[in-house]
Amino acid sequence: MMQKAEQDNLFLNWINGYKNLIFKFVRAYAFELEDQDDLFQEICIQLWRSIPGYRGESAVSTWIYRVTLNTSVAWTRKEKKYREGKAPLLEAHTIQKASDQDDRLDWLYKQVIEMDKIDRALTLLLLDGFSYKEMSSMLGISESNVGVKISRIKKKLIEKSKEIISDEV
C-alpha cells in the first residue's frame, strides 16, 4: 500500500515532468481560463487517483497521456459547483505569453478546438507523434478506423491552411 506522502511526491513529479502535455489538452478542451482551471483540476484528481494502479507496465508518459485524454474527452463544465473560492491553480499570464510567440500555433489550436471531441483527441495524438497502433490502443478502436479518421483530419487541416494562405494573399 502506497503512503499518502509518497503518492503526493510522485504526483508532483508527474505534474512537473509532464505539465506541458496536460496543458495542451487543457487548452484544446476548455476555452475560458476558469474552465481550464476546472479541467486541469479534474485531470490532476484522476492522475492522483490513478497512481496506486500504475504498475510500470507502460511508460509514465503513456499512462499520463491516457488519463489526460480520457478525462478531457469526458469532461464537461459541471465542475463549477465544486469551486471553492480559493486561488486559481493556473496563472493566466503564461498562456498569453506562449501564444503571443507564434500566431500559427494559435491558428492550429483554433482548428483543433473547432473539431468534435473525438477528432480533437486524435489530432492531439497525431501532433504529438503517436503511431496508429498506439492511437488504436489508447482509443480502443481498430487501426483501420484510426487511419480513416486521421486521413480525413489531415486533409481538412491542410485545406484550412490553404484558405489562410489565400486570405493573406
Partner: protein, 190 residues
C-alpha cells in the same frame, strides 16, 4: 501548409511554459475534493443501507415481541433484500470505479455506466424513498393530530423534492449520458 510543418509548430510549445502551477493549492484541492466526494457517497450509501436494515429489524422486533401477524415478516424480508441489493450495488460500483480505463472507449463506457447508475439511483430515491416516506409521514401526522397544515407542508416538501430530483435528472444526468453515448458513437464510426 504541410502537415509536417504543423507538427513543427506544435512541437515548439513543448519547451514553453504555458501556465504556472500553484503546487500547494493543488495538493490541498485534490485531498479536499476526494474526501468531499467520498463523504457524500458514503453518507448516501450508509443512510440507504442502514435505513433498510433498521426498518427490517423494527418490523421483525415488532412482530416477534407483540405477537403480530407473521405477514409482517414479508415487508421485513423485502427491506432486507433491498439492503443486500444496495450493498452488492455499492461494491460493484466501487470495483468499477477503481478499475483503470485502458482506452478512451473503456473510459466512455465507464462514464456511461456511472451516469446510468446515478440516474437509476435518483429514480430509486424518488420512487422508493422520497414519495413513500412523505406519504407515510403525512398519514401518521393525520392519524395522530389531524393537523391539515402539517400534512400540506409535508406534501409541498415532497413535491419540491420530487421536482428537484426530476430537474437534476433532466438538467444534468440525462443530457450527460446522451452526450457520452454520442461521443462513443462518433468514436466507433468509420
Amino acid at each position: 501548409m504541410k502537415f509536417d510543418e504543423m507538427k513543427k509548430i506544435w512541437d515548439k510549445q513543448n519547451n514553453e511554459p504555458m501556465y504556472a502551477i500553484n503546487e500547494n493549492t493543488l495538493i490541498q484541492m485534490i485531498r479536499s475534493r476526494i474526501s468531499k466526494s467520498n463523504f457524500f457517497l458514503k453518507l448516501y450509501d450508509v443512510a440507504m443501507i442502514g435505513s433498510s436494515f433498521f426498518v427490517a429489524i423494527l418490523l421483525i422486533g415488532d412482530t416477534w415481541f407483540h405477537d403480530e401477524s407473521p405477514i409482517q415478516y414479508i415487508p421485513a424480508g423485502v427491506a432486507i433484500i433491498l439492503g443486500i441489493y444496495m450493498l452488492v450495488e455499492r461494491s460493484r460500483r466501487k470495483r468499477k470505479e477503481q478499475a483503470f480505463s485502458q482506452s478512451l472507449l473503456d473510459s466512455l463506457d465507464q462514464a456511461i455506466w456511472s451516469t446510468a447508475y446515478l440516474i437509476r439511483k435518483a429514480e430509486t430515491i424518488m420512487l422508493w424513498y422520497v414519495l413513500p416516506l412523505f406519504g407515510a409521514l403525512a398519514i401518521s401526522v393525520w392519524l395522530m393530530s389531524e393537523k391539515i397544515w402539517v400534512v400540506i407542508c409535508l406534501a409541498i416538501v415532497a413535491l419540491f423534492s420530487y421536482f428537484g430530483i426530476l430537474w437534476e435528472l433532466k438538467r444534468w444526468h440525462r443530457p450527460r449520458k446522451k452526450a457520452l453515448i454520442h461521443l462513443k458513437t462518433i468514436l466507433m464510426q468509420e
